[in-house]
Amino acid sequence: MTARLRVWVGGLAALAALAAAGAAHAAARTTLTAAIPRDAPPNYLLDDNGRPTGFAVELMALIARRAGVELRYRVEPNWGAVIDALRRGDADIIPDLGVTPERLREFAFSDPVETFRSSVFVRRDTHDVSGIDDLRGRKVAVMRANAAEALLKARGDVRVVTFQDFPDALFALLSGNVDALVYPEPWTWQRARAARVGDRIKVVGGPLIEIKRALAVRADDTELLARLAPAVAAVLASDEYRALYVKWIGTPEPFWTAQRVAAVSALILLAAIVGMGVWRYRTLARVNRTLTAVLADLERRTAEMEGFVYTISHDLKAPLITVGGFARLVEKDVECGDIEQARDSLAEIRKAAHGMEQMIEDLLTLARTGRIVGEAEEVDVGALVAELRSRCAHHIEQEGATVRLVGTPPRLRVDPARFGQVLQNLVENALKYRRPDVAPQVEIGAERRDGELRLYVRDNGRGIPPAYRERIFELFQRLDHEANGTGVGLTIARRIVEVHGGRLWVESEPGRGSTFWIALPGSAVVA
């Protein structure tokens, strides 16, 4: 009983030990250590956080998931170290290694996961090399532990220079220390472009070797290879594999595809058209505004000119009719021997000629007023009035008139000569249209109203009926037959004031007197 029990217990223990051993073995193999090189893009590289990534790493992750194993990476500085790690047993697997006859002696490989071709790279301006056969006796760079190293050494006709790091090999080629570089095409291109020297190298001849790449394990670890084989086959047949291949190894799709170029061209064209349209619209609007203003000004001037021409043609024709008429009458008078009558006719001719001369002079004065105004100067109205008093002293005395200044005279910024003429014209008008029985009194003063300075010339003359208050400013308009002059004085005065940016008008009480107002803008007044 006791012995049977002991045997039973012993059997149980043995079974348990067996089970434990099996479990321990399985546990050791669910986490695989993969040796990878630090920097062999696109198959192996480290991302920004220092974690391994790349085609081989992602592919291995897919395979591991299917096979139900965990992965741990052992990152080595170069391929030599990677292969040593697997050889020593520090790693269980290399996810993606070139299959060469030498390696097959110590490693076992899965089905190939990709195939690279290694080609001969030379400098772009090398023209005497069109294949590996032209490199006899010349220096050719290879990477240590790369399939090409063994291949070229076996040929024996080139001087093989082995590099540990790819950039060293690449720049040895560029600097001329070696004449060629043999390395897998996609890796070389990718790294040369990343170093911005992609346009400095070229491939010559056909591919030197085609190297299949596959998962590598130690030759004696066939159990692991067998475990992984179904996962490898499944992954290779999957869409995920294709996506991965295109992502890492496929030619990157150029950003500027035909569609994109067309779309951007269309956008630029559209923007240009819209821009031109807006520019054109704005320009046109601005030109239109200018033209409208110019047109309005031109129309105003044309109307003014037409009125002017009409007046001139009419008013200058009148004395001509007189001259023509009386000239013929003089002949008749002489025929009849009527010397008295002839003298009278000649007097009419003389008067008409004189009148005409006067009109032409006045017209010239008016035309000049429109064009030429002298430099504005600071001038005191008091000084202008004093000057005016002395200039018209005779006339003032003759009429028994008084001309006086009311209040403090303002200072103006005007053309003194022209402005003096305005005041003189207004004062002479006041004397001319006086009441016969009242001594003329003329007052000159200033008021500030509605933000402008208003000068006034006030008289106690006969005044102007409302109907004539605008007409008197027209060319050759007079109110009285007996008055001297052609009727241009007020026209000139108004023109001068307008050229200074001001306005001239009259207020009047018939029978009591008139007040002529000159409103001036701030620019013509000294504050």
Binding site: I321, G325, F326, L329, L479
Partner: protein
């Protein structure tokens, strides 16, 4: 009885009374000389501006006496006048039912289209421009008189 006079058609009429509205004294003189040359004995009343013309026609102020200021049979009107323009005078005459029957002949130095158009619009009866040549002036006045005195039949009184 008076049908044997030199003016066969005007036998039963007084000579044409003319109101001359002219602001240019020399022109007034010329027109009067032209009438005189032809020994036309028309009574011509001269006024010198538009205001006087209307005063005369409405018998205002100095013209209130019908004996010295009789109603004219014809108005000779210059356009460019002092105070009130010829066009205004024409308009006033033609808008007044009591005056509009009086023929108004514009006699001016202006041949401007606007003036012509305006005058006909306000129903001027005729538009004449003053010729520089006195012979033409003379002939115009002569024919003017002939036309309005002899050929034209005035409205019944």
């Amino acid at each position: 009885m008076s049908s044997s006079t030199a003016r066969p058609s005007a036998d039963d009429r007084h000579p044409l009374r003319i109101l001359l509205v002219e602001d240019n004294d020399a022109h007034t003189k010329l027109i009067l000389r032209a009438f005189r040359e032809d020994r036309l004995a028309n009574p011509v009343h001269c006024v010198r501006d538009g205001e006087e013309a209307l005063d005369y026609l409405y018998r205002r102020g100095a013209f209130s006496d019908p004996a010295s200021s009789p109603r004219p049979d014809l108005v000779l009107l210059d356009l460019k006048l002092l105070k009130i323009d010829g066009t205004e005078v024409l308009k006033t005459i033609k808008q007044d039912p009591g005056l509009r029957a009086i023929p108004v002949v514009i006699l001016t130095s202006s041949a401007a289209d606007d003036d012509l158009r305006g005058c006909y619009e306000y129903q001027a009866n005729s538009y004449l421009t003053k010729p520089v040549d006195f012979e033409k002036f003379h002939k115009m006045v002569q024919e003017l008189d002939m036309y309005w005195t002899v050929f034209n039949r005035p409205p019944p009184a």
